[in-house]
């Protein structure tokens, strides 16, 4: 491979790296608004669920595990996890993007945020599944 060919190939690679755009900013903003509003509702339900019994009792280990065993409650927790993760990590991304304006920083922040978001969702989902113990009741 000649040096010019190598340069062209490496340029193509960097161009692929820099030109990758999964979503337009307006679409991301829309998702940010929708997840924010939806999270408000599901978190409100989650807090109200604490009031069906005395507050101290609701946070006891056995009652918490019992909550996880309820499939609807587990789904509610999963939706909170997904919505808050998307909304929160996008907020963090927006703040980080304003700190520096280089293309490499922008791409690095985007990739880092997506990886962290997927990691948090995966870890949270694992916790919910383990606590639920695959029980439907």
């Amino acid at each position: 491979m000649t040096s010019s060919n190598f340069k062209n190939n490496s340029n193509k690679r960097t161009r692929w790296f820099t030109n990758i755009t999964l979503l337009r900013e307006s679409q991301i903003t829309k998702i940010h608004y929708i997840t924010g509003i939806s999270a408000l509702f599901v978190v409100a339900i989650h807090i109200l669920m604490r009031l069906i019994m005395p507050f101290n009792m609701s946070l006891e280990f056995e009652n918490v595990i019992l909550n996880y065993k309820n499939i609807f409650y587990a789904l509610l927790l999963e939706s909170i996890l997904v919505l808050i993760a998307i909304h929160g990590f996008n907020g963090l991304r927006v703040i980080l993007l304003e700190i520096r304006q280089t293309l490499i920083w922008e791409r690095a922040v985007n990739i880092l945020v997506i990886v962290a978001m997927i990691g948090i969702i995966a870890y949270g989902t694992r916790t919910i599944i383990i606590a639920n113990g695959f029980s439907v009741g």
Partner: protein, 301 residues
């Protein structure tokens, strides 16, 4: 009682303003002018200082008049950019007593203080003294394609050129935003521009809306693509300081919000338009006619 107190305060303020303007005594009819001095080309270390001048003022003296007085009679090396002296060219934008304003449009008597501090516009690189570099600002303005793009326009055939048709209602949708004089005050007041240099700024975004709302423009999608980036319109925090400092009443914050609602597809609403008066008949003759009928009615009674 409250109204009485307010009146008293207003009277005191008016008296102070009149004192500044009317007295011929040098100590009372002069102000201390503090001018920011820097030469970024010769001294790139960003070392600056303030020079102070005692300038005689009258009721109608503007900050630009005071600066030109200082330049004429105290220090000819002060660098200022100015041209029309009537808030039409937008050249003399600077930070006066902490707020971005046009020097030709700011009377010293309005400021109600005896110390006037003039600094270059923030968010712009310094060149010398009060003169700043507008190249980044102009590049942002250029990037939003601030011109009408109409593929149906018959420009190659000059002989058959026709005028674009536009109703007064269509004109009113963007007229307010077309009053922009590109003075850069909104850009200097914007907190997002202060941290993000890739952000186009309120001027460029409001001009993007000005051409987006223009019924003669047919290539709206390209303009939206330019501003729909990670450092584009979504980074506006809606602080509203751009609209506060605009000397021409353009209200760039309104333009940005309208453009954003179009971009997100949440709303297709345009600027609220005032109802136009019916000018099909001569208003003077119509009024006379109405007056005549009233007179006749009175006579009948």
């Amino acid at each position: 009682m409250k109204i009485f107190k307010k009146d008293k305060k207003r009277d005191i303020k008016n008296k102070e303003a009149i004192e500044i303007s009317n007295t011929t005594d040098n100590t009372k009819s002069s102000v201390k002018l503090r001018v920011f001095r820097i030469n970024a080309i010769q001294d790139p270390k960003d070392v600056h200082h303030f020079d102070e001048f005692q300038i005689p003022v009258k009721r109608w003296t503007t900050v630009l008049d005071a600066l030109l007085d200082a330049k004429s009679y105290h220090d000819s090396s002060i660098a200022i950019r100015y041209s029309c002296r009537m808030a039409s060219c937008g050249s003399c934008g600077m930070k006066i007593n902490g707020i971005p304003r046009l020097a030709c449009y700011t009377k010293i008597s309005e400021l109600a203080t005896n110390t006037i501090t003039c600094e270059p516009l923030p968010n712009f690189p310094y060149i010398r003294d009060l003169v700043t570099d507008f190249s980044q600002f102009i590049n942002h303005h250029r990037s939003v394609m601030p011109y009408i793009q109409n593929k149906k326009a018959d420009i190659p055939d000059v002989n058959e050129l026709t005028e674009y048709e536009q109703t007064p209602e269509d004109l009113d949708k963007f007229l307010q935003f077309s009053y922009c004089i590109k003075c850069g005050l909104c850009y200097s007041a914007c907190p997002t521009v202060a941290t993000d240099l890739k952000f186009p700024g309120p001027q460029a975004l409001s001009q993007a809306y000005r051409y987006f709302a223009d019924s003669r423009d047919t290539d709206k999608s390209n303009r939206l693509k330019v501003i729909d980036t990670s450092h584009g319109i979504s980074r506006c925090h809606f602080a509203g300081s751009c609209s506060n400092v605009c000397p021409k009443g353009v209200d760039p914050a309104l333009g940005i919000q309208l453009l954003r609602s179009h971009l997100l597809g949440f709303s297709n609403s345009e600027k609220k338009i005032a109802k136009l008066q019916d000018r099909s008949s001569n208003p003077y003759t119509a009024e006379e006619g109405e007056g005549d009928t009233e007179k006749n009615e009175n006579n009948d009674k």
